[in-house]
């Protein structure tokens, strides 16, 4: 049996040791269904006369669709309906429109051109899967093959083929820029002060989630003009909201049933299969199943995107990292899906769990003619962590230090200011390094064994430094001529020390009752006795802060925030401060009189 060792000696004073479940054997509540084969997955619902829907897919990376000839397919016995792009009520969507992030950029069925291998261009609904496959084979598409681009840096060149019409420059828009910036201090000044510069490139392939159950959904007409949809989605309300938009149908007419997912790992967020099945049910008035086979799951199932990183560190001889600069490229594939969020998450994670006085990052979400990329297990963070920790080893080697001691030396401590202007709290990297070294029989110096995450912060480390800023990389500028992708060498100005950046606020909710009353959104205010750094009024929980921003503009902001905008955290808001109560409450605990569906605190 695998065993978990609890190091309750660490940070014992910060925690009530009242764990009732963790560390004790337990029986999953759903496992009886699993072992008896009775757990109902989406495909375990029987419908009389179930129809099967399959897609005709692009064999090309990039090609115009000149003409689709469906006549042979339509004549085939058992074919109920050929579904064309014009059958999709709203055939342009972006998943994160639900929170007003990004432009609609992806058709459910491509009508003008295909931008990746496997992109669906039309679909067939037939009485059996076999007939649907045969009809798809009989559907003839006249393609005009276009030049394609598969590499992120190639895609940024002025003459690169333009992949996604909504983002003709092959980059997602972050405010006014074609990349997400992070600026903290002055990296160029940091490099000047450094004794050693270490610079390397890292990259990671796309990774398919490969759930055991492939993505799929069954939709069927239900009572009261509703459509019921049994779905494998791992994001029920996300699927519901997106399907409602694409179908141009109020969500009250969609009855989504799910919650039992045969493995998701991020690959069942994209809601494509739900939209397809509901579309099929709407068009035929019958129960329709849309299921990817394994080949589709691997080819068109959106993976965690590929990433490429250039990291440049400036170090002092004694092993302090004085400056760290990133140039990062996320390969979003042909459409946005959730990669735009991955970039934000990533930039919030930089420069890793280390206190570095000067940090700059340019991170790009790049469109290429590859399968769209989406969520997968820590997406946005895992790739850069791989790059970072490889780079830490190279840094340690360059300054002749033990790699673990090098990490302890540079690890952030409670109270330090992180590059995205949040205070480091409950840090534990020092202790992790010490325990890992111990377990591996790796000896550390007594000085390093004596370090603690709770000690070592100074007023200087806790402060926001004066920050060099620049205006390089405005949207579209790269199309006009090559400009460097790395953070600008010359700054165009400075932001004074101590200053946080402007707040970005989310677009106004579409429906008034979706507006979250700041007073209803709680955040944990418990202050650990020995850790006075977490003053409740300074940094509300990220999502709560975004939602509770006091003034939602009447017109959508051009720079809506989804994640806590990394270079621009929301300001302290009076509303959030006032909502701090005498007795703290925690996630899942509701304040009296509030909706039971609102949990105390939302976490991602």
């Amino acid at each position: 049996m695998s065993s978990v060792e609890f190091r309750k000696d660490l940070f014992a004073d910060e925690r009530d040791d009242t764990l009732k479940e963790i560390g004790k054997p337990t029986i999953r509540q759903d496992i009886l269904g699993h072992v008896t084969g009775r757990t109902p997955f989406y495909d375990d619902h029987a419908f009389e006369g179930l129809l099967h829907m399959r897609c005709v897919r692009s064999p090309h990376h990039h090609a115009n669709i000149r003409r689709v000839d469906a006549s042979a397919a339509e004549r085939m016995e058992g074919v109920v309906r050929v579904v064309m792009p014009s059958d999709v009520p709203v055939n342009l969507n972006t998943l994160l429109h639900l929170i007003g992030f990004g432009k609609d950029d992806e058709p459910l069925l491509a009508d003008k051109k295909a931008t990746y291998i496997g992109e669906p261009v039309c679909a067939v609904i037939a009485t059996s899967e076999r007939i649907a496959r045969e009809a798809c084979d009989a559907l003839k598409v006249d393609w005009e093959v276009l030049p394609h681009v598969l590499d992120v840096e190639e895609a940024l060149k002025p003459d690169a083929p333009s992949v996604n019409p909504a983002y003709p420059n092959n980059t997602f828009d972050y405010g006014r820029f074609d990349h997400q910036k992070l600026r903290f201090g002055d990296v160029q000044e940091g490099f000047v002060q450094s004794d050693v510069i270490v610079e390397h490139m890292y990259q990671m392939s796309p990774i398919e989630q490969a759930p055991m159950e492939t993505c799929g959904a069954i939709a069927a007409p239900e009572t009261n003009d509703r459509i019921v949809c049994y779905t494998a989605t791992q994001a029920m309300f996300f699927s519901l909201g997106n399907t409602a938009k694409v179908m141009n149908m109020p969500s009250s007419r969609l009855h989504f049933v799910g919650g039992t997912v045969g493995g998701g790992f991020g690959g069942k967020v994209d809601s494509i299969v739900d939209m397809m099945a509901v579309l099929g049910a709407k068009l035929t008035g019958r129960a329709v199943k849309f299921q990817w086979d394994r080949a589709e799951e691997m080819q068109v199932g959106a993976p965690r995107g590929a990433e490429r990183w250039y990291i440049k560190d400036g170090l002092s001889k004694d092993g302090r990292i004085l400056a760290r600069q990133f140039t990062g490229f996320f390969d979003g594939g042909a459409y946005t899906r959730l990669s735009s969020y991955a970039v934000q998450k990533c930039v919030g994670h930089l420069p890793g769990p280390y206190t570095i006085p000067n940090v700059a990052a340019n991170v790009y979400l790049v469109y290429t003619n590859r399968t769209p990329a989406t969520a997968m297990r820590g997406f946005g963070v895992t790739g850069v962590d791989f790059a970072l920790e490889c780079h830490m080893d190279k840094d340690a080697e360059a300054v002749g230090m033990d790699p673990i001691e090098f990490r302890i030396l540079n690890a952030y401590r409670d109270g330090d200011m992180k590059a995205h202007r949040r205070e480091a709290k409950n840090t534990a990297l020092v202790e992790c390094c010490q325990v890992a070294a111990q377990k591996a029989g790796w000896s550390l110096s007594p000085a390093m064994m004596g370090e603690s995450s709770k000690l070592g912060s100074t007023p200087e480390r806790a402060a926001i430094p004066e920050t060099a800023i620049d205006q390089e990389g405005l949207i579209g500028a790269r199309r006009q001529g090559e400009i460097p992708t790395a953070p600008a060498v010359r700054s165009t100005g400075t932001r004074p020390a101590g200053q946080r950046t402007d707040a970005r606020v989310a677009v106004a909710p579409q429906v008034a009752d979706m507006q979250i009353d700041p007073d209803r959104v709680g955040h944990q205010t418990k202050v650990a006795p020995t850790a006075p750094m977490s003053a409740p009024s300074t940094t509300p929980a990220p999502m709560a802060a975004v939602a509770s921003a006091p003034s939602i503009p009447a017109t959508p902001s051009p720079q809506p925030a989804f994640a806590p905008a990394t270079s621009s955290p929301p300001p302290v808001t009076p509303a959030a401060t006032e909502s701090a109560r005498e007795t703290p409450f925690q996630r899942g605990v509701n304040r009296p009189g509030l909706s039971p569906f609102l949990s105390g605190r939302r976490r991602r």
Binding site: I131, R133, E134, D137, D293
Partner: protein, 265 residues
């Protein structure tokens, strides 16, 4: 649409075989094609003759029916020299289904068992009674016809060696497999047969290696000329498991392990 014809005998199936028919062995490859909508055939011929599932150990040669499952091979101690081959094909369910006959027609990267049979100089008996070397069948697999059985001569103990290189264990598809029949004459190698699997469109013989090993001693210096010619005339396929370059590059390493250490991974 697919139709299925049940045939009583191999000869009946042979007579029914057309361009758009396929013969069902264990189904592990054919049913995959059916499930994925392969439009190149629309009729399945299913042979119910129990004779196809028989293994005959009586004669001078061992005869294995085309419908014999890998699991049957593994259940017979007389065929222990083939156990390292059969036991590494798929998981238990695949081994309970996959047939010897089907393996002869398996497309790259499958066909481990055929590779072993090629090294063992197997003879193929067609349903119409003709007989030919497996090597001849492999050079022209697409011409049609139903195989009824294969026959081999049992190698002397230690003469037959087999090695399969996979990315995952215990079950994995071949990056490559190598089978060798190392007959001895005096203290040296006599007539040797070496076959590679997953190194070409079909299992194939490494004739340059065979020639270089004849008369050699089975030690590092003795096999060196053979290793130098390991990939002569070979253009390995490129797939998700390995690049052509990689296959070629590591081939001598694995060949040397097979020859020097008996090659069990």
């Amino acid at each position: 649409m697919i139709s299925v014809l049940a045939c009583q005998t191999a000869a009946e199936a042979d007579a029914q075989l057309t361009e758009r028919s396929r013969i069902l062995g264990g189904g592990t490859l054919l049913m995959r094609d059916v499930n994925y909508g392969d439009q190149s055939f629309d009729r399945i011929l299913r042979v119910t003759d129990p004779a196809l599932r028989q293994i005959d150990l009586q004669g001078s040669r061992i005869s294995i029916g085309a419908g014999v499952r890998m699991a049957q091979i593994l259940a017979l101690s007389e065929l222990d020299f083939l156990h390292p081959v059969a036991s590494k094909i798929g998981g238990p369910a695949i081994r309970a289904m996959a047939t010897v006959g089907g393996n002869l027609f398996a497309e790259h990267p499958y066909g481990d068992f055929a590779t072993a049979l090629l090294a063992l100089d197997a003879q193929v008996t067609w349903a119409d009674g003709r007989s030919e070397a497996l090597e001849a069948l492999l050079t022209q697999r697409r011409r049609g016809g139903m195989v009824a059985a294969v026959s081999i001569t049992k190698p002397a103990p230690g003469e037959f060696r087999y090695l399969k290189v996979t990315r995952t264990k215990p079950k994995g598809v071949s990056v490559m497999c190598i089978a060798a029949l190392l007959r001895r004459e005096g203290g040296r190698l006599g007539d040797v047969r070496v076959a590679y699997g997953a190194m070409g469109p079909t299992p194939l013989r490494a004739k340059a290696v065979e020639a270089a090993l004849k008369g050699a001693t089975l030690d590092a210096s003795g096999i060196a000329p053979a290793l130098a010619r390991a990939s002569d005339g070979i253009t390995p396929p490129e797939d998700a498991l390995a690049s052509s370059w990689y296959r070629k590059e590591v081939l001598p390493v694995h060949l040397s392990r097979l020859l020097l250490s008996g090659g069990t991974y």
